[in-house]
Amino acid sequence: MNFATLTVILALVWAAITGNFSVLNLLLGAAISVAALWFVRERVTTPTFFKKFRRVLALILIFFYELAHSATRVALLIMSPNLKKRLKPGIIAFPLTAKSDVEITLLANLITLTPGTLSVDVSADRKFIFVHAMEVPDKKALIRDIATGFEIKIIEVFK
């Protein structure tokens, strides 16, 4: 029996015992189940599960961090008095390592939420994703940032 089914069953048991099937109580039950199963993880789960769980969590945290970071940077840029001079827009081609639909979609969304970058198009052969950037001081550095940041994390999650 895998981890997800066990969690669902235990959450239902929790709801039955407490006599409350509200969404919030079911979520609490699921949280307690995960915590409880974590103690006996060697017996009931494959060792990769918690590793994967941690990676998904890491991706979500990075997502929120980057969103806050990029919103602040764009806000500062908007309010700078010599806006026209600071803008050096360009569209760069980012070579994709990610292959599946979900990975590419997620990467495109994350790129849009990163400082000063916006995904514009994906090439028909899925080799490149075209990224519009507000400032392109160094094309290679920008590509490297995306490849070693989000892309690796996304590929790890779906591996």
Partner: protein, 113 residues
């Protein structure tokens, strides 16, 4: 006590959210073309409305309201980058050129190949 802390927290979140919404609007006014405007709309806009929804979740003390507010945030995070992507792609397809020109344009080179 908890309610007071929640009220202050929600107040701060609302103020920051409103500030980001204002900045998104200013950005759309000040930036020169659609592509750069999408930067402001997608980032500062998501931030503004997301923080406002989280503020509601903080003061609600009601499971159903909290859950709906959080689902709203997730939908914003999923949809606003997609709409920015679609708008800029559509603009590029119909040949709307970026104002002031671009130093690097790999997409143009790619399409001409």
């Amino acid at each position: 006590m908890v309610e007071q802390i929640a009220a202050y927290l929600a107040g701060i979140l609302l103020l920051v959210g409103a500030l980001f919404s204002l900045l998104a609007a200013i950005g759309i006014l000040r930036l020169p073309d659609l592509y750069t405007r999408m930067h402001a709309a997608s980032k500062a806009g998501t931030m503004g409305s997301g923080l406002t929804l989280i503020a509601i979740a903080v003061v609600a003390f009601d499971g159903a309201v909290i859950l709906r507010a959080l689902v709203g945030v997730v939908f914003l995070l999923l949809t606003s980058p997609v709409s920015a992507h679609l708008l800029s792609r559509a603009a590029y397809m119909v040949g709307y050129s970026p104002s002031g020109g671009m130093k690097i344009n790999d997409l143009k080179n790619y399409r001409e190949d």
